[in-house]
């Protein structure tokens, strides 16, 4: 380490750079180890607390019981549906909401990003909508649309709207003038500019918006599934809580967390596949 430092000081700037990079890389490779240790420690503490019965199992069931419930619910189900069926019900709602929100939000983002009139119309609406917590408009949605499936999708969809609109508008506004001018000087019409330059330029930003929206939507899910659902992870947790089946509650929470993590990873893969050039040119 001290040798590294001496080299970095003695070497000319351009040779010092790689040495610094190696140090950062070493530091980075420590991160997953520390993370794994932390998780193991937490899990261990949890198991010990449960075994010693420091807390009543109704409040804190042992990790092993939670794992057991995972298998049981996956196989035999809970409140009339297996874990997979609950999961698929939730995923179905979130993706239906994502599709609807994207179809609405991307054009609105384009309008805000590319025209002063569009900005004048939609900017205030989105700014009003954005900070409202979904639980606040949930009763209104029930009054208007009842407790049907669409109103659950609507609640999640509304929560997803603002992040996608804002990210799209940012992407559209950020298109380099030279890039637009280059296309115009090659004969592009207004429609061609939108289709061939603005849309692809804004795509990385739109994907960021979708990633954020998916996170927001997923966390809105439990709230949406309080509305008389008969399936879904949120509904499962809710029912389990009413019967004080705490291990199912915790299992459900962990599944929700795992799915959120999977979303994040999936969108990052999608980004690498769709916009490999982002940030490089």
């Amino acid at each position: 380490m001290s040798l590294d430092l001496a080299e970095a000081v003695l070497a000319p700037a351009d040779q010092a750079a790689p040495a610094k990079e190696t140090t950062t890389r070493t530091k980075r490779s420590i991160v997953p180890i520390v993370t794994a240790l932390t998780l193991a420690l937490l899990l261990g503490a949890w198991q010990v607390a449960a075994t010693l019965k420091l807390v009543s199992p109704v409040f804190l069931p042992a990790p092993i019981d939670v794992a057991h419930q995972f298998v049981t619910v996956a196989r035999d189900g809970f409140v009339d549906a297996t874990l997979l069926q609950h999961l698929l019900a939730s995923l179905g709602r979130v993706f239906a909401a994502l599709l609807a929100a994207t179809l609405v939000a991307v054009p609105i983002g384009f309008a805000i990003g590319s025209s002063p009139i569009g900005r004048g119309i939609f900017d205030p609406l989105i700014e009003i909508l954005r900070p409202i917590p979904p639980l606040a408009y949930l009763p209104l949605v029930i009054i208007w649309f009842g407790i049907s499936e669409p109103s659950k999708i609507l609640i999640i969809g509304i929560a997803m709207l603002a992040p996608i609109v804002i990210a799209t508008a940012t992407g559209v506004k950020g298109v380099a003038t030279d890039r637009l001018n280059a296309a115009r000087a090659l004969g592009a019409t207004k429609a061609q500019l939108l289709r061939h330059v603005v849309l692809p330029s804004a795509l990385p930003s739109i994907l960021v918006g979708i990633r954020i929206a998916l996170g927001t939507g997923w966390s809105t899910l439990v709230a949406a599934e309080l509305v008389a659902a008969s399936r879904g992870l949120g509904f499962m947790i809710q029912s389990a809580a009413q019967f004080l089946v705490t291990d199912v509650v915790i299992m459900g929470i962990l599944v929700i967390a795992a799915v959120a993590f999977a979303f994040e990873a999936a969108i990052r893969l999608l980004e690498r596949w769709l916009v490999p050039w982002a940030g490089k040119a």
Partner: protein, 256 residues
């Protein structure tokens, strides 16, 4: 013969101080006009007017006596920052103009390969452009402009960001491409030698407000195309003398 004319142009942005005052400039096919002048004297503004990105406050921009209403494929532009489309392959970038014009994929590919060969990048069509060097990207920008078969090629410091050696190679390339096409070239540069080496006519601008203070006819480029070596030309007495008088004009010194 096609000609692009800036006729008594004045320009001020958003009612501010005039950036250009009463500028007139013509460009014919087969000409290579190079604009030089100190930073901020309105060179880019002039090119943006010619390209149709900006409309003049007064005066007219004409192509063959018809008023220019905006950008068009007859006036291709090469930018200092290459302004390529990173989501398209190198070949698709080059064939962007033909694609807008509705030309089919096979023909586009043929055009792209041909233009890439002209700029010295044969076989690089399938590369993502973010895997190209700065010099290569600038060549792709040139190939993209050429693929539109422009009547006029407008270039705003296209070599400004390149290192000295790449820059010299690109100067030779520009000259070579100019020799092969019928197009009229308009180039903005800060390089005095570059201007002398490439131009058939050099236009010197001065700031406050931007105006043309001197026009100079030169033929070093033609001598290069006729086979004389670049080094011999740049070392020749008339090149050195022309450089001095050009520098005098740029810095508004009295000729010694």
């Amino acid at each position: 013969m096609p000609h692009l004319t800036l006729d008594s142009i004045s320009l001020s942005y958003d009612g501010g101080a005039p950036v250009l005052a009463n500028v007139s400039l013509g460009l014919r096919s087969g000409e290579f006009v190079v604009v030089v002048g100190r930073s901020g004297c309105g060179k880019t503004s002039l090119l943006n007017l010619a390209a149709g990105f900006v409309t003049p406050t007064s005066g007219r921009v004409l192509v063959d006596d018809a008023a220019v209403k905006g950008p068009g494929a007859d006036r291709a532009v090469v930018f200092q920052d290459d302004a390529l489309f990173p989501w398209l392959s190198t070949a698709e970038n080059v064939a962007f103009g033909p694609r807008l014009a509705g030309i089919g994929a096979a023909e586009r590919r043929r055009i792209a390969d041909e233009r890439l060969a002209i700029v010295g990048l044969p076989g690089l069509g399938d590369r993502p452009i973010w895997r190209l060097s700065g010099g290569q990207r600038q060549r792709v920008g040139l190939a993209r402009a050429l693929a539109a078969n422009p009547t006029f090629l407008l270039m705003d410091e296209p070599l400004g960001a390149l290192d000295a050696m790449t820059r010299e190679a690109m100067q030779e390339l520009l000259l070579d491409v100019w020799g092969r096409t019928q197009a009229g070239f308009l180039l903005i540069t800060h390089g005095v030698e570059e201007a002398l080496f490439l131009a058939t006519r050099i236009v010197v601008m001065a700031p406050g407000p931007g105006r043309i203070v001197r026009t100079l006819a030169v033929d070093f480029g033609k001598r290069r195309l006729a086979g004389e070596s670049a080094r011999a030309i740049k070392a020749s007495a008339d090149f050195v003398a022309a450089r001095e008088s050009l520098l005098d004009a740029i810095f508004e010194r009295e000729a010694a």
